[in-house]
């Protein structure tokens, strides 16, 4: 069971510690600065900052050492003939940090869609040029708020670190079997309702909010798509819509149970433009039967006058699948230690929450 929870917000990083079965803020860092991604693995923590004036930055702390600034992922010089590229060759935001399954390896997913690799625990970074230089990358669409494509999810196959599955907002699912040497756009069965009729089912036209896999059964992937929730049982090749999601199928975040491939959690909202909880009640929806049915979990969550939205990386789960936590755009934070049956709000009023991670590894 994890005893540290890292919460990245619009105004800093907040570290919560578990003591006497309660969670409380034990440390703050980067106060006043937007934290766009956080990773806690082993005794090391990484925090990505999204400085409004001075660009994206990456900091790291190991054990009790001081925080140190690392090299920030950066694009190579843009070729002069790349005039038809609609997206900037400059990292706008580090959106997620994912352990690569090999000592020292980390993947960073960014806006405007670059995937970066570090083999030295984040000290230096290299762009995956194969993905970035694909002609199809020019078709990628932007995501609301950033107006650039974003790599929202990076899944590393627990049994094969060469196999990566990316969720791109908005460009569907991309997969490699060889650590990024070659990529293919996969995903039969999706339906992006807001696209022109002849493109609704095109794998590259899919608005993937987030994907999550079951670590024990990585062939099972859940997808919180803009249009609804989907599930794949073949590593993302084909997808089945889950039409029984309650109280809605719209949302941004998903986490999968690490051991049980039939269980996943979502935080639903009203689609599309309104984007607040259905009936202004914050609930978590959980399926435990592969998406056939969904339970609405609300014990301990605000039941009225709540307008919180939960972003892609703001729902976290620990390695046991018992502890979950989520933070909202209104600065709410809730923790569950019983798989979502009941929730508890630590004593804090936070800035808008971008990301929530339990310590792992």
């Amino acid at each position: 069971m994890a005893d540290k929870l890292y919460v990245g917000t619009r105004k800093g990083l907040f570290v919560l510690s578990r003591k006497n079965e309660k969670w409380d803020i034990s440390e703050t860092r980067f106060l006043g600065e937007p934290v766009s991604a956080v990773l806690a693995f082993g005794d090391t923590v990484w925090a990505a900052l999204d400085l409004g004036h001075f660009g994206p930055k990456l900091w790291r702390r190991t054990g009790s050492e001081e925080w140190t600034e690392m090299q920030t992922p950066a694009f190579p010089p843009k070729p002069e003939d790349a005039t038809d590229d609609p997206h900037p060759w400059s990292v706008g935001r580090i959106w997620n940090l994912t352990p690569g399954g090999v000592d020292g390896r980390i993947w960073a997913g960014t806006m405007p869609g670059g995937l970066f690799l570090s083999e030295d625990n984040g000290a230096s970074w290299c762009l995956n040029t194969q993905l970035w230089e694909m002609p199809d990358r020019l078709k990628w669409m932007g995501v609301a708020g950033g107006e650039q494509p974003g790599l929202s999810s990076v899944l590393v196959d627990p049994g094969n670190p060469q196999k990566l599955t990316l969720g791109v907002s908005c460009a569907g699912i991309w997969q490699t079997e060889n650590s990024g040497e070659t990529w293919r756009n996969i995903g039969d069965g999706f339906d992006n309702e807001y696209m022109p009729p002849d493109q609704r089912h095109d794998p590259i036209a899919q608005d993937i909010h987030q994907i999550a896999h079951c670590r024990a059964h990585p062939n099972v992937i859940w997808c919180q798509h803009h249009s609804r929730i989907y599930r794949s049982t073949d590593h993302g090749a084909t997808w089945r819509p889950l039409e029984n999601a309650q109280p809605s199928g719209f949302g941004f975040a998903v986490v999968a149970h690490p051991a049980d491939p039939a269980t996943a959690w979502f935080v639903p909202a009203i689609k599309d433009e309104q984007r607040f909880p259905v009936d202004a009640r914050i609930v978590v929806s959980r399926t435990r039967d592969g998406g056939e049915t969904f339970e609405v979990l609300d014990q301990g969550l605000p039941g009225r006058h709540a307008y919180d939205l939960v972003y892609r990386h703001a729902l976290g789960i620990d390695e046991t699948g018992n502890q979950l936590a989520f933070g909202s755009t209104s600065g709410g934070l809730w923790v569950s230690e019983d798989g979502g049956e009941s929730w508890y709000a630590p004593d804090c009023r936070l800035p808008p929450v971008a990301c929530v991670r339990f310590a792992a590894g």
């Binding site: 006043g32 600065e33 400085l51 409004g52 004036h53 001075f54 660009g55 930055k57 600034e69 920030t72 950066a74 694009f75 190579p76 010089p77 843009k78 900037p88 060759w89 400059s90 990292v91």
Partner: protein, 89 residues
Amino acid sequence: MPTVFFTSQLARFIDAPTTTASGATLGDALESVFQEHPQLRGYILDDQGAIRRHVAVFVDGVQVRDRSSLEDKLSIDSEIHVFQALSGG
């Protein structure tokens, strides 16, 4: 030699002292500073070497408009000020 002054806001993240620079253009002068303070580059310039969107640079009191080529000419006693741009309420 030209002198480069950095906004004090940078001190929250990185050491950015007022420093003398060398070079006949803005780009050369900044490059000479980055040689001494490599991590400062990413705070001022984006990945393509252009002035970051929300950073403002003044040369002898005139705001730099060509934010990519950095070819503004300097005199031996030029003053370069690097500020955070006002871009919000």
